[in-house]
Assembly symmetry: C2
Homo-oligomer: 773 residues x 2
Amino acid sequence: VKSKKEYNLREALCWLLPIVIGVLMGITAFVVDIGIEWVVTFRYERTKDKIYANSSSIALPLFIFVSTSAAFTCVAGGLVAFVEPLAAGSGIPEVKTYLNGVRMKNLLHIKTLVAKLCGIMFSIGAGLIAGKEGPFVHGGAIVGSGVSAMASKALGWRINGKYANLFRNDVDHREFTAIGTAAGVATAFGAPIGGALFTIEEGCSFYSTFVFWRCFIATCSGVLTLHALVEARHTTFDVSEAKLGNHRDFGLYSDGDANYGEAFWYYVWEFPVFVIVGILGGLMGALFIHLNVKITMWRRKHIPVDKRNRRFYEVVAIAVLTSIILFSFAKASPCRTLPENAAIEEKFNEEEAELSGEDTVKEGRHMYFPRLWCEEGKYSVYGQLLMVPLSEALRMIVHLGETVDCTTTGCQSEIFPSASLFVFLVVIYLLMTLTYGVSAPTGLFVPSLAVGAAMGHLVGQILQNSVGADKITINMHTYSILGAAASLGGATRMTLSIAVLVMETTGAMQLIVPIMLVIFISKIVGDFFNEGIYDTHIHIRGAPLLEESGLSSSHRMITEKVSIGDVAKKELVVLPSKIQVRSLVEILKNCSHNSFPIVNGAEKSKMVIEGSISRVVLYKMLEHRLGLYNNASTAEGGEEEASGVMSEDLDTKYVLPKDQRRRRNLQNKLEPRIDGEPLHLDLLEFELNQENFLESHVYVDMTPFMQQNPFVLSPDTSLSRAYHLFRTMGLRYLLVGHAQPVVSGIITRKDLTEEHIKISIGKKVRRRMKSKA
Amino acid sequence: VKSKKEYNLREALCWLLPIVIGVLMGITAFVVDIGIEWVVTFRYERTKDKIYANSSSIALPLFIFVSTSAAFTCVAGGLVAFVEPLAAGSGIPEVKTYLNGVRMKNLLHIKTLVAKLCGIMFSIGAGLIAGKEGPFVHGGAIVGSGVSAMASKALGWRINGKYANLFRNDVDHREFTAIGTAAGVATAFGAPIGGALFTIEEGCSFYSTFVFWRCFIATCSGVLTLHALVEARHTTFDVSEAKLGNHRDFGLYSDGDANYGEAFWYYVWEFPVFVIVGILGGLMGALFIHLNVKITMWRRKHIPVDKRNRRFYEVVAIAVLTSIILFSFAKASPCRTLPENAAIEEKFNEEEAELSGEDTVKEGRHMYFPRLWCEEGKYSVYGQLLMVPLSEALRMIVHLGETVDCTTTGCQSEIFPSASLFVFLVVIYLLMTLTYGVSAPTGLFVPSLAVGAAMGHLVGQILQNSVGADKITINMHTYSILGAAASLGGATRMTLSIAVLVMETTGAMQLIVPIMLVIFISKIVGDFFNEGIYDTHIHIRGAPLLEESGLSSSHRMITEKVSIGDVAKKELVVLPSKIQVRSLVEILKNCSHNSFPIVNGAEKSKMVIEGSISRVVLYKMLEHRLGLYNNASTAEGGEEEASGVMSEDLDTKYVLPKDQRRRRNLQNKLEPRIDGEPLHLDLLEFELNQENFLESHVYVDMTPFMQQNPFVLSPDTSLSRAYHLFRTMGLRYLLVGHAQPVVSGIITRKDLTEEHIKISIGKKVRRRMKSKA
């Protein structure tokens, strides 16, 4: 029986562990951010040094630009191809699948964590069109999982106290993994609310306020840790005087002076234009998914996951291609006079002071208006957006205009000529489509936001020109942010969480209503063509994801009209409560089911359900020789009418507790935590054979170990009810039984996927047609 | 069979109706806001006019102040006492109970809506210590309910199309009511995210992303409607040039110029002080609840709900008392020289220009520094906070300091002397405790935030003094906001939603992490003493609310260790599937159960469950004479072995459809929407008797109308599983059955309350003791 103390400890840990998870993710994010900063600075500074050293040289800077990219990609791609294939991509589809209740081996190993986070530094350093956010989601999940289990197989570390396995069960483990995900998103974006909402919207099919709160604790402590560390690093003077709270990843420049009240605005009459931005975002997202699916299909055929070398060469090739394309555009860029504007001048002076030295000024090394190959006093228009890290380009498109004094109308269009935005949009969009799915850690959020921001900015410029700059000043920041939100919404089909994420990272609290509007419109438009990128990739892999029912009318119609009897598998493997050990071993060897119903009565029409037992419990029972007894009376070929008493002549290591509670407790302890390695059945069989347990008179009695009240639903229960049960109760299977509880089938997660339902209906119809004919 | 078209229409309406709800709530909020502004201005201007006309007069202004208060309270209190008692208080406990699955008559009637919203205007106008937010939650719920049902009994309005009853079932109706709640909170606070989160955290036991999204659509359209209307009202020039997005109810003054980047800050070393603020907030909340419970108990004894006159006199007396106390403090207030500060001077000049005329300047009618009875150049220190509407006082405490240029240290303490804050804190706190629960619409949010802000500001001043103003400037806005959040958290014990609400209404996005911290601490501290104010009031009323399990370790322990067999009621009323009409009428008259299991087999040990039928369906069956048949063979005293054929000689108005789907459909149509009035059973009996249906040979067959697969759980299922099912599946009852599905008990919501569980355990123990003795 669990003690009061254990419940209280559990209670306390439920709240404390999220803080631990948050702090760990905050530290992780801090370290990774420094790593990214270092590799990025290394590559761009080396390249620009060569350009400024000799403004006619092309070959040398190109070589440096491409070779550093290739070298960094070798690290990122190598980690994925040769160390841990699951570190590829964003990891969001995998984590989502796992949180939905599907097991995936190695997904939450610390090896994956290291590969993923080291990899993402170099992916970004290499200039791949990728962001760090997706990998952080995956990283957070691994941290959450490891902290809750208080163990790591890879590190050989495992707390083995009395209470160490408090959270080593399915439900708790999933909850803590979800909490880790939230902390990951939050620290990647610096967005505590958005992180928590992300997990609720995308991750959890098992929402509860309890989980939500803990997510939020984790995100808050994560963000606070990260920002305190960043302050500690940057504050040359006393950290105790550093004002916290105004970090925003894609927020305004010079946040301390930022005038949020005036930074964003919109007029009522702009709403139709916002609708257009939403539609464009939806179309961009749908097209991206469509093209990416084609590429993914091609990839699966020609560069499958098991061809590690090919996967490795592919990602390096893409990195080289990306570098060459970006470099070429920067080189071919038109030059433009530096904007003559008081605010920008002022900005420059600051930077010059920072960069220290007259040389840099002469070289035109303005942070936001790089000279590159242009003559003095001019800057490279394409280079401004293409020869910088992607997240910096996003930030510029959204916010650079604010350095300009906008009382003079039309000033904002001074910053980015439409041509520059258009080139950026097309080039990054195509490269992003090509890149997502390669063998390197790559997040989709930043690329998607960046192309969206460019799109929104273009729409804003078109509107401003058609309205007339002398009449009314519309806000380019608003359009950039709305475009970014629409594009991300079109690609991911998430809604509330990305609205809040965009709001939090940009500081655009005033825009929450239009942000929501464009995201909804882009979702509606996108859903007309295909599913979101994550779900698409999950389906390509064939994982049985249970989406929330009721989200599409056709799905709801199907689940309401079909009974579970129609989709249940009829061929199920059942066990009697007492069985020969050798039969059990045979069954385990030949059948990979994860759970077995236990019935009494041998005939198919009379199988009364007694309970169910999971595969892992069976393994553990055999491993510890639990429940074995000598059934001498019915030596060979006898039926299972065993006496049920524990025989003395067998070496039973444990005495089974008599009362139900203690038995349950024992069973709890037997259950290993999720993703526990499968025992080696052959070895087990060998051992059992050595100890003569495989002889025909040795039986095993599973009664004390089985779960006694599995959910049993009548066959004509509607599917929607079963669906709801699966999602909210976190079930792995449902038994189907008649009013007299006689087993007639078993239903698993896979039986509830839409495809399977349709197949089942088809079969039913055909059967009827036949019987009529 | 529902058609594809019907599913699509349903789908479209699921998304469109939230917009309708949002827009309606936006308009409602706009109208109510104007109303409040009007009554408030009327009262305070009249009073101040008299004071400024003759600065020595006390009696006349006091008379006006008190009599207007009494008059307004008569309207507010009268609406509650004589029109609709459910319009009292905030309505949040009632709405929460309803959303948890408990029916309450009249809660969602339009009469209640009108009484509540008219009442709240006058409550606030009368100067009662109340806010509009709680009543808006209730108002939103009514709007959501009415829109989804597309009917209003009170208005005699009802859409009777083919599809009008699409959402007239329990589940949809609850979802739309929840969506309305979200819209209500959002429009009251101008907080779209906070509104949606409020509903999820406080309202829904049936969370799904689908509901969350629709909540958010409703809140966004509501807030947008409200703000567009407000702009349209205030913009003298073209509304097309009005910049939207920067309304915040308790936000910074002069939002357009507000420098959010500099408005709020905090240092790492302040966190221990934040913890103290959290603890104080928790203690304040717990004490408030403790005192309020005492008062409520006294009130139930001496001023019960059915003594309408007493209730009415009480609220008027409290209003008069409130007015006299506030007036006395303002009169007794010390005077203080107007702060000499460039920023404030500037502020004054603007105001003076607005107020127009030299006279007002001479009278010292500064909006934020009222002269009242003081000599020229001075202002009334207590009057500043006590002679203004409560929401304005809150806004001042939080933000007034920002008008002061804070580069000179310590300037912030110029605004509010500690004495003034302390008087405000104590007076409003006590009046709030007295007021909550009177017979008038009163919200708790604003009073709780206001006293909290004063508390936080005081803590900040103490800290600033002990640190030394010359060393470092700490931010008083931060402390005010944290204090407000802690106080509200301590009173309501909500967490995430109020954190976001406070952030959204004040614009303090930088403070989200410390806000969350203080709210959590105040919740932990408060929970140590008692439950939140809403849950306390729900429990006082005895409604069977099912809180989320797993939130307290003791509760989790209980639900995990107790089986449902232990708490199930054993005396249950079952029906055979075929029964004499007159027996059925007798049963309905004598038993108030809402649902009846249908069994076959008469002996108690052999009752096999066939299904269940709800009371309302039985009523409808009798009303429409459905399923009646002539069972002539077993005339009198015969058992229920009926032939099962529909006899021709009875006037059956409907032919029962043969296939199951159509029968279900018919059943759906029979089910009236929630809160449908009970039929008059006596009248029904009379009619049936007239038509000779009460003769002994007339039977009714319930088989086609019963729900065929009620949830049946084995008696040794753990309570926590049943609990989870109740909450997530929105069940109203669960049947308990043995493995051979023979009914042994029924479990209802009430059986799952903690008290009942404890009683059941007690009984069990006593039984065992007896059997041993």
